[in-house]
Symmetry: C2
Subunit: 406 residues, 2 copies
């Protein structure tokens, strides 16, 4: 191996995710995470090894690189994999190609044109329905027919590491008929994953479930910050708005679908039968372990949720087929959140709302405090990785600290 990769690294030789990084002497550019290092792709390009216009590797987003298409992006990843393994390859004896991640600054990997959030975990939708509507009819009538989704705010998607301020907004106090304006008292995270499209469609075109994978470049971890009290007051009838658009956080490395290929699994049975445009062949779920830790200010971090992306009722191919079945066009760099990923067990719920069951079961923290929702000073850290037959492919983390309202 050209460079040392620690055992159990998320960024194993099997992963090789793409991101945008800079250092004091390098402007933002494309890189690949390898163990604790970043391979500088713009510098590799100077070795004249790539057969495409490598100016795309010097951009401050991956959009133009991704837009070259999978035939090129797949080959870059496979070539790098071979070269990293081969002690005599073109990468050998060139330590200047590698930068320590600890010495680099990460940037948003893509410029996101449109951002859509789905609501595809049956456990999450059921929990929310039980809490807010009717425990006997927790799932709404359309839920098993439609991968329910809505449009979110692209401008406020931020990178792991950037802190957020607690949002202010209108909330309706209990038993009141007039709202008050205040800092949200029910700030929550949502454990999600998100995929990024790598290919455009024209307005009017559709993407079938069979074609969908051609359009999906890769995935990131996604924390869809939510203010539950603002949401409750505003969301009828047109959906969440200020309760969500103050921030959503992503992890910096885009793990490609090729790297995730070994971790395909079958999803839950879908009953009743879905519309034919939502039918699909093969295993479309992915076995990705997900974990949420909460770190109170100055205290130790503590795992509060263990979930898995494989629990999703609706898969990405169905989400994309549904999104485009009316002719809605998609672009390179668009981002699609899964919706909160909850499992069946109480410790697998992907939000504070569910973990503390609307405040009725506060989480006990090791520092003696308890949590019904996220407090000022808390840092929420989400991790994700897949393992199988000794192969590990991980996402690193998305970590966000909550600062007091401005």
């Amino acid at each position: 191996m050209i460079i040392n990769i620690p055992e159990n690294s998320d960024f194993s030789i099997h992963n090789l995710p793409f991101g945008i990084f800079s250092t004091e002497d390098r402007s933002p550019r494309a890189g690949i995470a390898v163990g604790e290092h970043i391979l500088d792709l713009a510098a590799v390009a100077e070795l004249d090894v790539f057969e495409f216009n490598t100016a795309v590797l010097e951009k401050d987003t991956l959009n133009d690189f991704i837009a070259l298409g999978k035939s090129i992006t797949k080959k870059v990843r496979i070539d790098i994999q071979h070269w990293l393994k081969d002690e005599g390859s073109i990468l050998a004896g060139k330590p200047e190609l590698f930068v320590l991640q600890s010495e680099a600054q990460m940037h948003m990997p893509v410029s996101i044109g449109d951002y859509t959030d789905f609501y595809s975990s049956i456990e999450h939708a059921t929990n929310v329905g039980m809490m807010f509507r009717d425990p006997e009819n927790a799932l709404l009538p359309n839920w098993k027919h439609i991968p329910v989704g809505y449009h979110g705010r692209a401008s406020s998607i931020i990178l792991s590491g950037e802190p957020i301020h607690r949002p202010k907004g209108q909330v309706l106090p209990k038993d009141a008929s007039t709202p008050v304006f205040q800092a949200s008292a029910r700030l929550d995270f949502e454990l999600e994953m998100a995929f990024i499209t790598g290919k455009n469609t024209a307005l009017g075109e559709t993407v079938s479930t069979a074609e969908a994978e051609d359009y999906i470049f890769g995935m990131v971890l996604f924390n869809d910050w939510s203010a539950r009290d603002i949401q409750k007051w505003e969301y009828v009838p047109l959906g969440p708005f200020l309760a969500k658009n103050f921030a959503s956080s992503i992890s910096p490395w885009i793990v490609t679908m090729e790297a995730l290929e070994p971790f395909r699994v079958a999803g839950p049975a879908q009953e009743p039968k879905v519309q034919s445009y939502l039918e699909f062949d093969g295993n479309k779920n992915y076995d990705i372990n997900l974990e949420v830790a909460l770190q109170p200010d100055g205290a130790e971090e503590q795992i509060i949720c263990n979930s898995n992306y494989k629990y999703m009722y609706w898969n990405m191919a169905q989400q994309l087929a549904h999104h485009t079945v009316n002719g809605c066009n998609i672009n390179v760099g668009d981002l699609y959140g899964s919706g909160t990923i909850s499992g069946k067990d109480e410790n697998s719920y992907g939000s504070m709302l569910e973990l503390a069951w609307m405040g009725t079961k506060p989480l006990q923290m090791k520092d003696g405090t308890e949590r019904k929702f996220v407090q000022d000073g808390d840092t929420v850290i989400m991790c994700g990785h897949a393992t199988k037959d000794g192969v590990r492919v991980g996402f690193g983390e998305v970590s966000t600290k909550v600062l007091p309202a401005k």
Copy 2:
């Protein structure tokens, strides 16, 4: 006057809206509409009359020009106004600076980062509430407290003149419990106006109602196409998605807020009192006459709606203050729809849903047909203009033909 401007032109000397146009021998660039002509701003720049980097006038969107700020964009408009009036000005004797609109192709005036749609007409919200919910409690409890809004799809916003295909999707037949997949049978327009922001904020910043006008560059006509049957089945609980994101159409010329200044009027009284962050001083509504015509394929066009932008309950300053009160960041080129603009009279309703009252009062067309919703082959044409003391400032039109489902 340097160039003839027909009396009653939307594009009078008092207007001078900005757009992006091309001709066979000119690539897309910035222009100003003057009567039946377009003044080529990139060509004017070659006369060395502007004191900013005029490369922004040769771009295929106005974003970089708008981002220069109002001190510059206002001066360009005022200078052009003076030069057009002055027979001895720098524009005199240079017919090559002008292009006939009929010989030019218009393009999207801005690259839209995020698109938000509000729901700010009390008459529209009341009509919809009466039809779909409870006639006695038509307005939802939050409506008079919040300028209700939601995020829409930016990628599918298209220019006037581009036809759309009727969307397909899931709809729930009457009395059925299982949806069917079909072409929408309830395709509708929504008469809206939209404003475009000309200034960024950072995440966490707010824009007060007093500051809002600094952030608004100008306005366009906006047709927010809607599939009512798809909407009805999908929109609970997260809002409209496929019912809206197949297309929204805008008019090509951005009329500046400076041009609209003479047409300010007071808006409706707001009772109950709004939260303090939504309070404002001065007249924030605009008296802009709006008209919708429907043209069946091969038949004459027929006016089916006369409305006015002045009816809006919530004004743009309130919309923007609300949108950013939680710290949501905005960018140059973002677009904000007003929501359907209905008035009190039955002929002022801004959608087919309301005009034909859910199909119970079909519109009689001059060709003998009737309309409950928009049919294949129909063209929907929206116009808007303001007049006062002999001054006319108009928007031209947004015209879209509906083609059969693919």
